[in-house]
Amino acid sequence: MKLLRQTFVVTLLLLILCCGIYPGLVTAGARVLFPKQASGSLVGQKGSALIGQTFGDPTQWPEYFWGRPSGASVDPATGVTYSSGSNYGPLQGALKDEVEARVKALRDSGVTGPIPVDLVTKSASGLDPHLSPEAVGIQIPRIAKARGMSEAEVQGLVAQHTEGSTLGFLGEPRVNVLLLNLALDARKPASPSFAKARAEAAASASASAAPSSSAP
């Protein structure tokens, strides 16, 4: 059968090209040209896009800037983070409830002005590392108070970590919250009582294995 031979041989050769040689070349090229980006080892470094902050209840941690609420969960079988948005429709009751709860937490933390919408809505990936400069700005007084820094000093750090739109028209102005928090720790380490609380929280988190996973 001519058709059979053509089908099998073309499929096999294209498989080798597209699924063997091509990814191999990309992997080799990436390792040579961009080794750090390729392995994802930039997490927590400048230029990193990935969040490293999974506060179960962020309001426990006044010393850190709070990021966006997350719809991501941890897969109980493998322990890896399962990226996901909430998928709430605009009229879903849970959307309203969660935004209201988040607004209340922010008000309780001392925020008085308008609350930027990105700080109370879940991102698409559940791993969004960024906030709008406004959403960071309303948290500055709390950070300054909790860390015993001046607001101007915190403001200076925020300004260093604020990125504008790329080329002036791509993407929104934003602040990488993880990098900002790491910079805070570098500038003024958290108080001993806070460090102790954090260690306890980590211990209890690892003790209670397999967190509940929400519906994808």
Binding site: V10, L13, A38, G52, V103, A124, E172
Partner: protein, 572 residues
Amino acid sequence: MRVFVLDLVFFAVLVLVAVPLGRFMTRVFAGENHTSRKILGILERGIYRAAGVEQDKEHTWRAYAGAMLAFSLLTQLVTYAVLRLQHKLPFNPTKLDAVAPWLAFNTSVSFTTNTNWQSYGGETTLSYASQAVGLTSHNFFSAGVGMCVAIALIRGLARSQRDTLGNFWVDLVRVHLYVLLPICLFYALFLVSQGVIQTWEGPASWAALDGSTQSVLRGPVASQEAIKMLGTNGGGYFNANSAHPWENPTPLSNFVQMLSIWAIPAALCVTLGDMVKSPKHGWAVFGAMTFIAVLGIVAATWFETKGNPVLARAGAAVATNLEGKEVRFGVPDSALFTVVTTGASCGAVNAMHDSYTPLGGLVPLLNMQLGEIVFGGVGAGMYGILVYVILAVFLAGLMVGRTPEYLGKKIDSRDVRFASIYVLIPAFSILLFTAAGLLTEAGRSGIMNAGPDGAPHPHGFSEVLYAYTSATANNGSAFAGLTAFSTQHPVFYSLTLGLAMHVGRFPLIIAVLAIAGNMAKKKLVPAGAGSFPVDNTLFVGLLVGVILIVGALTFFPALAIGPIVEHIQMTR
């Protein structure tokens, strides 16, 4: 304002990419000796020799369709086997078990048909081998098949009194060697430079600020990502697709991803103009696509910016809908991405469509229901809009009482019959399957967005309508709240969505090839004073009119029950 600059620059760069790429593809498919062929020609000839392909022996439309079906069937079986055997194969760092039978069926159909509907989450279901071989192979193959069919149809239009449309294997090998693979190689490396990962190492773990350990899966993402976009496939490596910071890290990577979705479909307009020797006709088709695209971009941007009053009432400063959107993209880059991905048959997402406002979410729905001809899938968009062109010319002929004629070829009843089949099959598939989803307990069980106490809600209806629209149109994006695979109901959505994807792909391709074969046989007569011109604004207007009227008449009732009712509820 940023949004205007963004959208304008996007279209400008699209044209700048489409012209050289389109001209290059004309030369590739004509078998000319371009520079890259001087380098890779040995490989090309080697493949023909090994497979026993005679370069100069062309296929009739039936033989072309037969080879296409044989190739698609075999590659679908390969993917099914890889998914079912992934626990026995290497590159499985998180020790995942075999993919469940129905899920493997659905996924193999999904990638074979260029749909890339994902009933699974990448992180928790697929090994690196399944991603890189089982899925990435189809990202290339299904794109290649689509382009072959489009070229065969254009050849049918351009030729006079011939029985053949070209050799499927030759077209397929050339499109891989000279178009898809070289572009992807450079594109993937660009993505890595932006922060898309490309590694075979297992998950990365680190201590989060609160002391807990966070672990995120890695893998060969960049190589898959490049062809996922360029081939308008859209199946994400991670569950969050192009919203994941490792799949689409920066606004620049986002811009290039959008561009790469429409690059080949837009370039095919140039190829069309070249091959039928009427560049202005190619640009007229480009213009019709652009017009519909702009309507969608304006609507999506407007409704997402205006947002959801619920957010403002709950205490946010503005109602702008950022639920399900990433801060680095905001509304402008998300809305544009949504129109690009659903106008093409891509289906990658950088924002969650399920969380769009009702009318913002209507835009991607309608884009798919119009048949994905707003640039469309690679190849699929071109042959899709050419079917509409044939209908438009036919209607114009009826209106003035002349024999309809397109590019010097009389349109006969056989052409119109197959064109009607092409338009009717998706309509039946979308509406009947949606009805089945709503009438069965298994179908309703997958719906996430319900009213208080689980009462039926227009958004739940939209989730089901979106699923079958996306599957039939071979798009693959979702109102992702819908659970399409669960251990309680493993069969219903896997089977029905799988059928919808097949119905929306192969019968339509066969109809297109039948038209192509019929056209090729006809004698090319020079255009006369009575021919309907297909290169001016009147033609663009007529084409847009036919597309919108056919789409609107077919789907308005369904859209009224879903997004439109929900919009009224939201704003009252």
